[in-house]
Symmetry: C2
Subunit: 384 residues, 2 copies
């Protein structure tokens, strides 16, 4: 390994997906920690909690009752960050006016969903088998498919996916009348990541605008494609599989790596091995392979510090309303950003220097990958 | 106010300093909070803590003893993220090689300082008067001046500043032999912002590279200048002073506003009213005005929820090694990023959607500014 020296020296690494750099200080973990300690998560939750607004049969904030759902259940967030209907806002663009340059705003409409992973209040993805995770991925696929623009270049794939995946009566809703631009599927897991209810669930925020992060990635992937004639993530998956040092696990469909440019201590990315543009491109077999990959990540995370590992995760894929070129440039992948650094109670804070100057990490992605590789196998605790 | 409708609708705002957008959802604060609670900070610290590695006279991790300093004390961080000396790393750039595109790294050298604000273990900037904060700003100015490249366009200003500010025997060090590129002064305050020692202090990380955030700002400010013939922040200060709705406080030298593009709930920015490129441009009078501004921010923050308010803050100014054009494009300002949203114990988490898609905030900057305006005056508790 010619880059062995990077284990010992401070350096910056480049993230080609966003076009930005981060600082890596491998020697810095020796620093003693006297700061905030996270509460280690105790798994003493009941299978059903009468006060949980996500448990089957319970009532939610606005009075609606949850169905007795079997695996996943989807509903519109009672406190959505974006809404379908709101007052109009049309700022007059006047290029000579300082306010129109420095006080720019644009309206955003959309719809936010909550999607449960299981009727059981006390489980997490790490407790679930790949077969139990599959319905979650099917529901994601159907909700994505049903929100696709009529003119979308992947419309045929969407129809195929909707026809081949059985509808879940508790997992679907009619899309809003006004076509939206992007669908962000994400999970906040654990109190340390701002999750306010342990019942296993994710969120789906669908907006009339293309958000910053997937927007940056699309620009970078499009640029790479036009400069090199190949897909950025196709090249990356091949390169990492060859090198091996950042690989955590893989199956026929997906590679799990601690990316070269990881910011969070044990950040990983699940990348499709072939050109999958969105969930609807996955075959039946690949959906199960993806479920296996999600299970591998979450189980290894819990095993690492023998705790209920907190993280935020999110899927990046083709926008639900886009051009042929944008759809072709998209390459399906899922990010996991977990905050823990040294133990179940000591996290990495991305604060002062990170916010004001540049993200900074303390262990190398190669060291993180080696540790995640070595803690596979069975879940450290009895799966629920 | 033509933008009144933005109080009620979801919208995106543009940050011209970084060129990126964020999502604003003003109606979302009604959401109940059942998640993590921060520990309210109890001010029961002793004036001197024999175990604190920052208190005068105490011993530090590597065995060095702190002097009996009077106001500020500066030393090289015992666990620096970057170092002056390390092994060489020269990646061969080969444009045809996929690894050289996707696994890019560059070495970073530098020096990290810790700088205390006061010998008293239990005070914070909010407890200190402007006259007591002044030595901190003087030390920042001298450390910045002493690290300036010999060829720096502001070299004359640096000499002047060094001549007019009395040297602090405990506040200075010889700069490293190899000229560095950027100096980031920042403070992490409070356990919620990863601070591991309550003794009032900041950090100064000086690197051979220009970090991402000040780098982006320089690009944006340079572009604005060349397109409009005026400074971005000159226009912005004037506009905000006229509009008033986001202004928190001002004196002759500085304006404090909740910026139009604020991400953190009570984020503010202190901006120089005239073209100050770096600390060394400040006159004696302006240094005191800046101290007043820092005091206003920190005092109002503590008053807001009657707590020891956590935040990360940082100064952006001209790089310590730069071209004439970069120095001229720079405009001195200080950011404050505080996490609390609703009370001393409920913070805003910038997690799933924010990390995967786009930053999102729940109250408007105008609402935040109104609250910060109304909680000025004396510190809610007896200043220490
Ligand atoms: O240097 P400290 O105070 O030990 O550490 C703190 O500030 C650093 C710079 O923002 C961060 O990298 C650390 O995560 C944080 O805990
Ligand atoms: O929507 P929730 O789970 O109530 O809220 C959580 O996720 C949101 C989306 O990442 C964040 O904006 C909130 O700060 C966080 O607490």
């Amino acid at each position: 390994m010619p880059d062995q020296v990077l284990d010992d020296i401070s350096h910056r690494r480049y993230n080609p997906l966003t076009g930005s750099w981060l600082l890596v200080s491998p020697h810095r973990t020796k620093r003693p920690w006297q700061g905030q300690q996270e509460a280690p998560s105790k798994n003493v939750l009941p299978e059903y909690d009468p006060k949980c607004y996500l448990c089957p049969g319970n009532q939610r904030a606005q009075g609606d009752s949850n169905p007795q759902y079997e695996n996943t259940f989807t509903f519109v967030n009672d406190y959505s960050a974006v809404k379908e209907q709101q007052q109009e806002y049309n700022p007059e663009a006047n290029k000579d006016d300082v306010a129109s340059l420095l006080l720019q705003a644009q309206p955003v409409t959309g719809r936010c969903y909550v999607l449960t992973f299981s009727p059981k209040h006390h489980v997490t993805l790490a407790d679930m088998t790949a077969t139990e995770i599959l319905p979650v991925i099917q529901t994601w696929t159907r909700i994505y498919a049903s929100h696709l623009a009529p003119s979308h270049p992947l419309k045929a794939q969407a129809e195929k996916a909707l026809a081949s995946i059985p509808a879940n009566p508790d997992g679907e809703t009619e899309p809003p009348k006004n076509q939206l631009r992007y669908m962000q599927i994400f999970e906040n897991k654990g109190a340390a990541m701002g999750c306010s209810n342990p019942h296993p669930h994710c969120q789906v925020w669908t907006t009339s605008t293309l958000p910053e992060e997937p927007g940056k990635e699309l620009v970078q992937m499009t640029k790479y494609k036009s400069e090199h004639g190949r897909h950025l993530l196709a090249d990356y998956v091949k390169l990492e599989a060859e090198k091996g040092e950042r690989v955590v696990w893989q199956n026929d469909g997906f590679l799990i790596v601690c990316p070269w440019w990881a910011i969070w201590p044990f950040e990983v990315i699940i990348i499709a091995k072939r050109h999958v543009r969105a969930l609807i491109d996955l075959t039946d077999e690949e959906r199960l392979q993806f479920a296996e990959a999600v299970q591998e990540v979450t189980r290894r995370y819990d095993n690492l510090f023998e705790t209920n590992f907190p993280y935020s995760s999110g899927i990046h894929q083709a926008p639900i309303d886009c051009t042929e070129e944008e759809a072709e440039a998209s390459w399906f992948h899922m990010h996991f950003y977990p905050p823990l650094l040294r133990s179940a109670t000591v996290r990495k804070f991305l604060v002062g220097y990170e916010l004001m100057a540049e993200p900074q990490r303390d262990i190398t992605p190669e060291q993180a990958a080696a540790r995640l590789r070595s803690c596979g196998g069975e879940l450290y605790r009895k799966a629920l």
